[in-house]
């Protein structure tokens, strides 16, 4: 039923034969590529984002059943779009008794206004139907409107994340649940609630007006950054790195930059994600343990990701408006990416960049990182003074980061007993198993 969140299709259909893995993967591949355009086009056309999302999910569920039974169709995109359209018409017919506008739209949809053609990029006269399934001049605005809707400020932060991954990224509820270590019903409940909230708040499916756009873009960037950081460092649990989630965020940032080529901070975030992901191959050791920046084998860093990151940072700088919070973080990441070793890093520049970042986006974590950079640039004594200020201000209590850094600085100053106490405290507070192991090992080696 449209409007009701049914459980997503499981890989094993109940009582039936198991759905062929290859069919499921083929459906998911097409869906990842197409879902944003399908949901975006349907939402613009119907003016009803929640309905568009419902019928798109129904089309996906239908594809999983039909494709595993009959094999993938020759034109998967057209198939999905036609199915979603049929579902939308059914939905309108159900609602048309209540609302004349739906009756009108159902008629127009049936007349093929929203035609289900082949995918774009087919030579005229080739394929079953060379017509574009959507208006190529509108598709960018549709996808952008979708991104802004999914990241709308009326939504709770975790709802923005789930909705963005599902409607823009094309991830299933299962994939989102796995990525965030929550249950599938939890993800579904967040998405259902998000759609109800958007409907209740009367949020139109549209690009934000010009005067709101920059502020709203900040909200979009922060959602994508949250997804990226969640993928780069899991706060809890076994795996230090859920690279797939981070890469999905990176892909979405690339999409955003392609759609908004005049926004320096979007380039800044892209640079930050590229430069951070460049280190992924070096961040876990052979047994999956965390490897700190100073111990990483820099030969494992992905050079092409670094090159793309530096290019993107160059674009952000070239606007001449000064770097924002993401651009500054990217500039710091660039200092690391271009240094052959920890010793050869331009720590003075890193300190300056952290000072700038602390002014445009003040946070205790930035202060802490500045302290670490100061330790590298001028020595542990000055850094300890900064860290002690942080302790006194009580702004990072409960986080393992502060005692972790403090312990490290005390160790360098030869105050071993205090250092061990701090590192053990950090280990107790740390929620990531792998990071905790690193802290405990370090504490245990102190004589």
């Amino acid at each position: 039923m449209a409007g009701e969140d049914r459980p997503d299709l499981m890989v094993e259909a109940e009582g039936g034969p198991p759905i062929a893995e290859s069919a499921r993967r083929a459906v998911e591949a097409v869906w990842r590529i197409e879902s944003a355009r399908i949901v975006g086009a349907l939402a613009r056309y119907t003016g009803d984002f929640p309905l568009a999302e419902d019928v798109a999910q129904e089309a996906l569920a239908e594809a999983l059943v039909a494709w595993s039974r009959d094999g993938a169709p020759a034109n998967p995109v057209g198939w999905l779009l036609a199915t979603a359209r049929r579902r939308a018409i059914d939905g309108f017919r159900r609602r048309s008794a209540l609302d004349a506008r739906y009756a009108l739209l159902a008629g127009q949809l049936s007349d093929g206004e929203f035609s289900a053609g082949a995918g774009a990029g087919v030579f005229p006269g080739r394929g079953p139907d060379a017509e574009l399934p959507w208006d190529p001049d509108r598709v960018d605005d549709d996808v952008l409107a979708l991104i802004f809707t999914a990241c709308h400020p009326v939504l709770a932060p975790e709802a923005r994340v789930a909705l963005t991954l599902r409607v823009v990224g094309g991830l299933t509820s299962e994939e989102i649940a796995q990525a965030f270590l929550v249950s599938v019903p939890t993800v579904q409940a967040r998405i259902t609630r998000a759609k109800k909230t958007l409907a209740a708040a009367g949020v139109p499916f549209a690009l934000p007006p010009a005067e709101e756009r920059r502020e709203r873009l900040g909200g979009v960037l922060s959602v994508l950054y949250v997804i990226f950081t969640e993928g780069s460092t899991a706060a809890t649990g076994e795996r230090l790195l859920r690279a797939d989630l981070a890469y999905e965020a990176l892909r979405l940032v690339r999409t955003l930059v392609a759609l908004l080529p005049a926004e320096p901070e979007a380039y800044g975030l892209l640079a930050l994600c590229e430069l951070t992901s460049a280190r992924f191959p070096a961040r876990t050791g052979p047994d999956g343990e965390a490897v700190l920046l100073e111990d990483q084998d820099r030969r494992l860093w992905d050079r092409s990701a670094i090159r793309r990151g530096l290019a993107s940072l160059g674009r952000a700088s070239a606007f001449g408006r000064g770097l924002g919070p993401y651009g500054l973080q990217a500039a710091i990441a660039a200092c690391h990416a271009t240094a052959a070793s920890v010793e050869e890093t331009d720590w003075d520049r890193v300190v300056l960049l952290y000072e700038a970042l602390g002014r445009v986006a003040p946070s205790p974590v930035v202060e802490l990182n500045r302290a670490v950079a100061v330790a590298m640039a001028t020595g542990p004594q000055q850094a300890l003074a900064l860290v002690d200020d942080l302790v006194a201000s009580d702004r990072l209590s409960g986080s393992h980061l502060l005692p972790g850094v403090r312990g490290e600085l005390l160790l360098r100053l030869g105050r071993t007993t205090e250092a061990r106490t701090e590192l053990e405290l950090a280990a107790r507070l740390c929620r990531n198993d792998r990071e905790r192991a690193v802290l405990l090992r370090k504490a245990a080696t102190i004589r």
């Binding site: 990842r32 590529i33 998967p76 080739r126 690279a243 892909r251 992905d302």
Partner: protein, 139 residues
């Protein structure tokens, strides 16, 4: 997330088709496809090759390499260019390959590109290659 190379292989049939297609039309068709991959955030690199008749073949069938100028004889699956894409699965790479605006007769090979971390890092030649990649910012 893995890198895949989509390798375009042309034949006489597809080359002939390409020759009779107006250049502008071809640019637009390829451009639209490329734009889709850029919009989807998956395109990392792409290159296409010049007219094969301008090429040279070095043949290692005999004792010593034999060099012959183009044009080629009958061409079967002649390498014409590549896309390098960054995708979540092999199926996604295949789905992009299916969408190539290719002329009839073309074949597209989909091959995974192993990451540098899949090679022995202490091998001196891997070390040298890393150094070159660092200097030049290569893929």
């Amino acid at each position: 997330m893995s890198k895949y190379m989509l390798i375009m292989r042309g034949t006489d049939e597809s080359l002939a088709k390409m020759m009779e297609t107006p250049f502008e039309e071809m640019l637009e068709t390829m451009g639209r496809f490329n734009e889709e991959m850029i919009r989807a955030g998956v395109l990392v690199a792409a290159e296409g090759l010049d007219d094969p008749s301008q090429g040279v073949v070095v043949d290692f069938s005999g004792e010593t390499p034999v060099v012959t100028d183009g044009p080629y004889g009958e061409t079967k699956e002649l390498f014409g260019g590549f896309y390098l894409i960054d995708v979540a699965s092999k199926e996604e790479a295949v789905e992009w390959a299916r969408r190539l605006p290719a002329f009839p007769g073309t074949k597209c090979e989909v091959r995974r590109v192993p990451g540098i971390d899949e090679f022995p890092q202490d091998n001196e030649w891997i070390v040298k290659e890393r150094a070159w990649r660092e200097r030049t910012g290569q893929i």
